[in-house]
Amino acid sequence: MAYSVILAVVAGSGSLAHAQESPYIVTYDHYLEEPGSLEVEYFSTFGTQREGNDFHAFWTEFEYGATAWWTTEIYFDGQTTFNDSTIFTGFRLENRFRLLQREHWINPVLYIEYEQTSGADKILKEVEGHDVESDYAVPNAIARKEHDHELESKLLLSKTFNGWNVAENTIATKNLTGGNPWEFGYAIGASRPLGLKASAHRCNLCRENFIAGIEMYGGLGDRYSFGLHDTSQYVAPVVAWNLPSDWTLRLSPGFGLNDDSHRFLLRWGVSREFSGFGEMVARVFRSREP
């Protein structure tokens, strides 16, 4: 029902904004969604699995700019484990708050997320604590019986200079079920458009429509055993293609850096931004007023 309302309003939107999206899939920079805009995103992660079946995890994301300093999102996750099953694995509610009014040498954003997922969730949107590859080898029928209620906070630091964006995210996560300790992780990224000046004519293949970069992410243990031991670590080149037709495509092959990491992750995503979405919804409600 909620999906239908959102899709109906989105379908009625003729107002589209050309996206200028970062290529990162795991790392966040300090840029929030424009106020009143809704971005609908779909992402896939294919992962190899030793001592188990490879998997394809996916999520759909609705990202809304409530104000110029507050962006809110909801995610729906699922996964297919080959030779096993396809299941829905949970949802996430996320909020990002810009802490400073203007641009500074470094720009902090506070990220707060609540997630309700099952143990079968494999989207690897963030890697934290002692998450290791073998955790994902458990059959879906068993893994889905584990229910996680997690509170996740991140401090996002980011800066853009000379066309380069550099971003660092520090992650602290608490599983609210049971007596689990705080877990930590990180993500860092750097990216740059291939062209800095815009062309005088619209084009699909102009250099400025492509942004390339690299990101690295992994766990940092937990409160009782902080550090890199028994953690998974990844490095992943990333590229985004911002099409003038309002779509953004992203691609990122990721590589595990130690024996506790998946050897290979292939991520891709597609997104589209709808500007004026909030105003359109407000208009729907206004029209019903006497």
């Binding site: 904004a17 920079d29 106020p35 700019g65 110029a68 809110t72 949802f91 009014q101 005088a200 407000a282």
Partner: protein
């Protein structure tokens, strides 16, 4: 699944939908008149640019393609709020008004870079510097010309 767990999930889902509807309507004014028209301080941020920023010159001022490229960028990123002809829209003020047209290129660049976050204008530093200067070139071209065709 027990009835208790079902009820818990329904309540959680209802709370999530309710929580989502708050930001959805946040900042969406009920009035049909743009708020900036009655705001005497709508251009006040222009006076807050540091002297060093005000004095910056547009490195693309002589670039013949800058205005056309800036017009494209304006359509893509700015017209939604400021209107297709920069005459002002539902959310953003007119950029043809005197305070904007009399501001130095450096001031406009500074506003683009820093936004006016508490008034709803996002920062645009994600656009590379040359693109922000192209936007400034376009904005400064508005005082006398009609909107150039991309």
């Amino acid at each position: 699944m027990t009835p208790g767990v079902k009820i818990y999930r329904v309540i959680l889902l209802a709370a999530a939908i309710g929580a989502l509807s708050i930001p959805l309507l946040c900042g969406q004014k009920g009035s049909s008149a743009p708020a900036w028209k009655n705001d005497a301080n709508v251009y006040a941020e222009l006076t807050k640019a540091p002297k060093k920023a005000v004095a910056r010159r547009n490195p693309l001022a002589e670039d013949p393609d800058a205005v056309g490229a800036g017009a494209n960028l304006f359509d893509e990123h700015c017209a939604e709020c400021h209107g297709e002809m920069a005459e002002g829209g539902r959310k953003g003020p007119s950029l043809r008004a005197d305070p904007v047209q009399q501001a130095s290129p450096g001031t406009l660049f500074w506003i683009l870079t820093n936004g006016v976050v508490r008034r709803g204008m996002p920062v645009w530093s994600k656009l590379p510097e040359p693109q922000r200067w192209q936007l400034v070139s376009y904005l400064k071209s508005l005082h006398s010309a009609e909107k150039p065709q991309p």
